[in-house]
Structures are given as C-alpha cells and as structure tokens.
C-alpha cells in the first residue's frame, strides 16, 4: 500500500479518552443544514407535538434521509434561523420502533437485504455512510465494490474512533456483522493504526465466521484516514455503478443500534478540543444540543473561535448556529490570536513545532503545540520552497496550481488536476509565504464547476 505526503500536526488540546454525558438539555435546536444535508422537506407543522424518533424533515436531494426528533417535545419552526426547535422535552427512554414497510419494489428486488437497508435509512443510520471517492451520500440500494471501515480520525480534535470502539466493543463487532449482512461478496476493509495488536486480534476473533474483514494498517499521519486516499491506496478505483462505501466507527455503532435494536440513531459521540477548550473531552450528545450550553463550562476565557469539525478542515460557526448539527463530529475551540509576540521570528522556538526544522524544537521529541488562529507571518510571493508539494497527499503541485490560478488559466489548472485535491489543508498549513492555497483551490474549483454547468 503506497501513501505519499502527509504530515502529523501535533497540537495541544487533545480530547481525553473518557466519553462524558452532558445533562439533559431543556431545548433542542436542530439545524436544518449541515455539510452534506439540507433537510428542506418539512414533515411536521409548527407547534406540533412530536415523539422521539419521529421524522421532522427530509432531505429530498439525498435519498430522503430523515431528520429525527431526538426527544419527545413540541416542535417550533424557527424558519428564519434555519432551525427546528424542540421545547418541553421529556426524556423517555427510547423505544424500539415498528419497522416501516419498505417500498414494494425494494423488497422485491433486494429481498431482506433491501429491507435492512431501508431500515438503516429510516432510522437515521444511513447518514453515516460516505462514497469514498467524493464524500457524497451513496445510494442505499446500490451495490458497492467494497466497504471501508475506518477507526482513525486524524484531523486534530475530532471524535476518535478507537475510543468509541473500545468502550462499545460488543456493539462494534455486532455492527460489523450487520454490515456484512447487507452485502453479498464485497470485502470489508477495517482500517487500523496497527494490525498486529491484541486488540485488533480481539476484534477479528469476535467477528470471525460472521463477517469477512480484511484488516488494513495505516500510519497515524494526517490525512491518511481520508476515504479517498484510503480507497486509492487499496487500489479501489472509482466506479459510479459500484462505488466504494466508507464509514467510521460511529456508523458501525449506528448500524448495530438500528438493525439489532431497532432504535433510532439519535445520539452520537462528538469531541470538544483545541487550545481554547477547558478539559477537552468526548461527549455523547444528540443533534440539536444547544452549543452555548454545551460549551458554557468548557470554553476558555478570552476570544475563542468555534469551529464545526477539525482544525484543518472544519468550518467556523457563527452565533447564528444554535445547536449541534447531525453530521458534527466534534467542535474545535481555538483561542484567537491577540498577543503579538515581540521579535517573534528571532526566538529560538523550542515551544513551536514546524514542518521545517528552523526552530529549536527540532532537537527535541515532537511535542504538542498550543496553536491559535494566528497566521504567523506575512503574506509573501511564493518562494518556491516546495514544502506544499512534499506534504500534498494526492501528488499534485500546489505551487504550480497557485501560479496558474494567478495567471487565471483555468484550462491549465484543470490539466494540473485540481480535481484531485481533497482539501486537506496541509499545503496552506506549511506554506512559509502564508498563501491561502486551500481557500484559493476551493474557490477555483467552484468557478470551474460553474463553468462546466453553463
């Protein structure tokens, strides 16, 4: 297996390995938009009482994935702020739901497998599934060529898979068996940081005979856990008919919950980490949990940037988002850059870690660094140092793309394969000239996409 580029960024503020449960919230703010989903088709009315597990809205663009009510309560449509608010909550224990009848053509064509997949969709477990090649939601009734199960999470501060796997091992192995029952002959690749450990052996022992699992070892180096990179390294080429499915530990646990217990998947493990977090940790929360309450005792003093997702790929959350969205894997809190260091660039720098070895820290063991939102330098023209090319995990040339974009030569940009970029952000991270390469690439990709549409 060949993996190139990558760089392991070590940052202080790693979430602890315990999984905490926060107190029951009084209200829930369910955002109707997340990274992949837009729950635009409302299924309830304003002021309507809803039961736990009831469908609040659907995303018609994504096979109708549902937004489920995580609690009993009264729904308020806060359309302006794009949330569905649940008030007057009661924390009834979850009940196993009647399995809804799958549409006739599905049960006819796919039999019991089709029913199971339909159940995943309706109980909110299918949302955890990705197409490895482009990250989109795959067709639940399609036929994959293989399934990737990743236990890694390398973007700093997202909920770690290994912790969820270890605390809920029996659920995890059962989930793997459920996954196998959805497939015919396709292999399941279980991506682990180390294959030859007692724990990995334990997992394989537990599912032996029930699931055909191929363990795959991947070094802990960002962004080797990216599905597209994993698929490529495993030689799974992209095929629209037979895509590669990919999911993480949370997805396997959701399969177990929905298929074994027939429960709606309305909780998930997220993380809170970063330099602006007090006691970074993992939490079991439900979608819609108010962000303000969640962070009240966990956010450090002073200005802090709240990021939905990891420090390298996430999105800043403004005050308009009130609750955790369905896809959230963690909140990263970064202290804003306020203190301007005096003569910073001549300091020996034993406390800062760099891709280059221009700081004294190169002489000591890698240590986590406390990072803020500082750009840490001035924007300069590209000095052609080549660092961006070295770290790029897909083998394209960011400095070349930058030059071509500057010249506004979009044809050449396409020929330089901007489409291969997975937006990992490493090139922007290492660039000493502080060029916002990643952002530039995102915008250009968008421009190119629009041009193709016209």
């Amino acid at each position: 297996m060949k993996l190139c580029g990558g760089y392991d960024i070590k940052m202080a503020g790693r979430p602890a390995v315990e999984i905490e449960s926060p107190v029951e919230p009084k209200e829930l703010f369910l955002p109707r938009f997340s990274c992949r989903f837009r729950f635009s088709e409302l299924c309830i009315g304003d002021g309507q009482h809803v039961r736990r597990g009831q469908v609040l809205a659907r995303d018609p663009g994504n096979h109708g994935v549902p937004l489920l009510a995580p609690r009993d309560g009264t729904a308020h449509l806060d359309l302006e702020k794009e949330h569905i608010v649940l008030r007057g909550l009661s924390a009834n224990p979850p009940e196993a739901l009647e399995t809804p009848e799958a549409p006739a053509h599905i049960s006819r064509e796919l039999g019991s497998v089709g029913m199971k997949r339909y159940k995943l969709l309706t109980l909110g477990a299918w949302q955890y599934m990705f197409t490895a090649h482009n990250g989109a939601l795959p067709d639940p009734f399609g036929s994959p060529q293989a399934v990737l199960v990743s236990t890694l999470r390398l973007d700093p501060f997202l909920a770690r898979g290994d912790i969820q796997m270890k605390t809920m091992l029996s659920n995890f192995t059962r989930g793997l068996e459920q996954l196998q029952s959805l497939l015919e002959y396709q292999p399941i690749y279980l991506v682990l940081p180390k294959v030859a450990t007692a724990f990995a052996e334990q997992v394989r022992e537990a599912v032996r005979g029930y699931a055909y699992i191929k363990p795959v070892q991947v070094p802990l180096r960002y962004p080797f856990d990216h599905f597209k990179i994993l698929a490529k390294a495993l030689g799974l080429s992209h095929d629209d008919e037979h895509p590669t499915w990919a999911l993480r530990v949370g997805g396997i646990l959701a399969m177990d919950r929905s298929l074994t217990m027939s429960l709606p998947c309305d909780t998930k493990v997220i993380s809170i980490g970063g330099s602006g977090a007090i006691a970074p940790t993992h939490l079991t929360v439900m979608p819609g949990y108010p962000i303000k309450e969640l962070l009240s005792a966990r956010i450090a003093a002073g200005p802090v940037r709240i990021i939905n997702g990891g420090a390298l790929t996430g999105q800043a959350i403004g005050p308009e988002q009130l609750g955790i969205d369905v896809e959230c894997a963690g909140l990263t809190l970064l202290s804003e850059h306020v203190n301007r260091e005096f003569l910073g660039f001549v300091r020996p720098g034993s406390d800062r870690r760099s891709y280059s070895r221009c700081f004294l820290s190169a002489l000591r063991r890698p240590m986590p660094e406390r990072m803020t939102t500082a750009v840490r330098g001035e924007r300069r023209p590209c000095v052609a140092c080549g660092f961006c090319e070295e770290v790029c995990p897909v083998g394209i040339m960011p400095h070349l793309l930058h030059k071509l974009i500057y010249q506004n030569d979009l044809d050449a940009v396409e020929r330089a394969r901007l489409d291969l970029c997975i937006a990992c952000g490493l090139c922007s991270f290492v660039c000493p000239s502080k060029i916002a390469l990643g952002e530039e690439f995102r915008q250009t990709a968008e421009t190119i996409r629009q041009e193709h549409q016209n």
Binding site: I9, P156, K232, H238, G309, A311, L312, T313, G314, Q315, L334, E336, H337, R340, E341, F342, G344, F345, V346, R353, S354, Y355, S356, R357, C358, F359, A362, E369, M371, T373, A374, V375, R376, G377, E378, R380, P381, C382, V383, A384, C385, G386, E389, G395, M397, L400, R415, A416, R417, L420, A423, L426, S428, F429, V430, K434, A436, G438, E439, R442
Partner: protein, 362 residues
C-alpha cells in the same frame, strides 16, 4: 516594549490611507512587523498554521552565515563590516524605493542578498563599487523581474557579474592576504591600497600556474580570496545548518558537489597537465559557498525534485569545465547563473512529465 507598542499605535494613522506619510506605508508595516508578529488571523480552514514564515526562513540563512562572517572578519579585518554596511544601505534603499512605488510590502529577501553580496567580492574592493554593484544586482537582478519570488537570477550574482565586467582589474587583480595568527586583521582596516598585504592571485589562479596551496590552509581559510569564500570549514558549518533546517535543498547540494567531485576525479586522471586532486578543488574557490548559499536559493532554483537534481548536476559540471577547460580561473558564478537560466526549463520538463502521469489518475 509597551512604549514601542504605543509608538506604533500612535504612528499608524499617519501611515494609513490618507495619512500624512501614506506613501511610506510599506516602510512602516515592515518596521512594525519586524518588531511584533503580524496580527493577521486565519479566516478559513486550515485554522492553524505552521510557525515558519519567510522572515524566519531568511534569518536562518543569515544565522548560517555567522561562521563565515566571523572568519572573514578575522582574516580581512574591519573593512568587511563597512562593505556589509554599504551593501545593506544601498540594497535596502532600492528595495524600499520599489516597495513604495509598487505599493507592496518590503521583502525580507534583501536582508540575505545584502549580506551575501559583499561576501563574494574581493576584500579590498572600494566601497563605492560595493554600492554600485548591489544597486545594479537588486535593481536588474530582482526588481525589474517584479521583486522577490519572481526573479530569474540570484541578485547578488548579477551584481557580481556586473562588477566583474565593468571593473575587471579591481575585481580580479588585488587580493588581500589574510591576517596571521594570533589576531589576524581583527583590529585593522585594510584595503587594497595597503600595498604589502596584496597579492595578484588566489589559490586557483596559482594552481593554473602549477603552484598548489596547502589543503589545510584551504580548509581553514588562510588563503587569499573573496571575503566569504575562503574558509571551507566555516562554510560547511553554516551549510550543514541550512541542510538540517531544510532551508537549503539537500538534493541541490548533493547533486552539485557530487557531480563536481566526479568530474574533478575524472579530469585528475585524464588531463595531461597536472591539476590538484578533487578534494583540493572542492575546498578552493567559491564552489562550497556557491553551492550552499547561492545555488540553493529557493526562488532561483527549480521547485520540483528531479529538476533540482538536474540543476545541481549542471552547476557542478559547469564549474569543473570552466575551471579546467577554459582560460577562466573560477566558474562558480557563471555556472550558477547558467543554472538559474535553465531552472525554469527543467521545472517545465518535470512538470509536464508529471502532468502526463497525473492525467490518467482517477
């Protein structure tokens, strides 16, 4: 520090758009950001950034030059400082002027150019020539191309070539003999008019006439030559630092020195006239200094890996050929300039090869 912060805060409005000195804003920004880390924050993912910036990158080169500076001060005296001061003053002025005209930021690059330039000059050169040379180098070698990052040639080398053509006698006739134990010339201000201290030939020049200087003398630097090029030991010290910090590309260094040594070994056995052995050649002249500090300049060297190898080999081989197959004594300068010319072509080739490979990628 507090006082300084206040000072900057008070002055800021004068340099802002519409202020009294708004044209001088680049100068203000450069000074401010010299003392205090810039206040910019990340707006998009990735929200964190590596601590390395161009300032640090360039100051690492300057730190790597400290051993060389120390030895040259010892060997050639206080005048070296005067040369550096002139080079910085004139070079800095040109840089600031262009930044103001172009309304761009002042680039750190001139801090390196301004220091490298005097180090490749003969130690006794009149100060006004230093000024003329650096002005030409920065102006023609860099600013006309659009400033740091866009220049084709190493500005210091452009300045040096200009001086070599305009004032050939001053540039090659008078070489200061290094001071001797124990104080060297640390307390002297010796120029080329100090008659008794001057020779007409460097070790490489003498070698052409069949006289070989001692290898040890070459290693520590007790030979006449350009200000910073004489002491192989000091250059290696700085060069290793550059390699360890990844500021200099190891590919270029290995390719240049490797191909140079290979060619020298070949010529040593093949040439009819006796020439010094390869290790002697490596220590003499500007090959080490040029390789570590000039050829590895990221802007004027190729950006892609394979092109770096080819670039290094071209430089190494050219140096050897000029030294032995032409009338010139030393060829490092021309070799690197040649490398600079072909660098974009080499890049072009590797890029097109790589694009061809990428084309079928899924």
């Amino acid at each position: 520090m507090k006082i300084l912060t206040q000072l900057f805060n008070q002055a800021r409005s004068h340099f802002a758009e519409g202020g009294l000195f708004c044209r001088l804003h680049p100068l203000f920004a450069a000074t401010e950001n010299f003392f205090f880390a810039p206040s910019a924050r990340t707006m998009n993912a990735p929200f964190v950034r590596d601590p390395l910036d161009v300032k640090r990158f360039m100051s690492t080169v300057i730190i790597a030059l400290v051993p060389v500076l120390a030895v040259s001060l010892y060997c050639f005296g206080l005048r070296v400082l005067a040369m550096i001061a002139v080079s910085y003053a004139v070079g800095g002025m040109v840089e600031v002027l262009f930044a103001i005209v172009r309304k761009e930021e002042i680039n750190e690059g001139f801090l390196v150019t301004g220091l490298l330039f005097p180090l490749i000059l003969p130690p006794g050169l009149p100060l006004w020539m230093v000024g003329v040379g650096v002005a030409f180098g920065v102006l023609v070698g860099k600013e006309l191309f659009g400033g740091t990052g866009r220049n084709l040639f190493n500005p210091a080398l452009v300045g040096r070539v200009f001086l070599g053509i305009a004032y050939p006698v001053a540039m090659s006739g008078n070489w200061l003999i290094p001071g001797s134990w124990p104080y060297g010339r640390i307390f002297q201000y010796a120029s080329s008019t100090t008659v008794d201290a001057v020779t007409t030939a460097t070790p490489l020049g003498l070698a052409k006439q069949g006289q070989f200087a001692g290898t040890f003398d070459l290693f520590v630097g007790l030979v006449p030559g350009s200000v910073g090029e004489t002491s192989a030991a000091a250059i290696l010290l700085g060069g290793i630092l550059l390699l360890l910090t990844r500021v200099a590309s190891w590919r270029i260094v290995v390719a240049t020195l490797g191909s140079f040594l290979a060619l020298e070994t070949l010529l040593f056995y093949v040439l009819p006239t006796p020439i010094p052995p390869p290790q002697w050649q490596l220590l003499a002249g500007g090959i080490l200094f040029g390789t570590f500090f000039m050829a590895t300049d990221p802007v004027t060297s190729p950006a892609t890996g394979p092109a770096k190898w080819a670039y290094g080999i071209i430089i190494g081989v050219t140096v050897g050929m000029i030294r032995h197959l032409t009338g010139y004594v030393e060829g490092v300068m021309f070799a690197i300039l040649l490398g600079n010319i072909v660098a974009p072509i080499l890049d072009e080739i590797t890029i097109s090869l790589r694009l061809r490979r990428l084309r079928n990628e899924k």
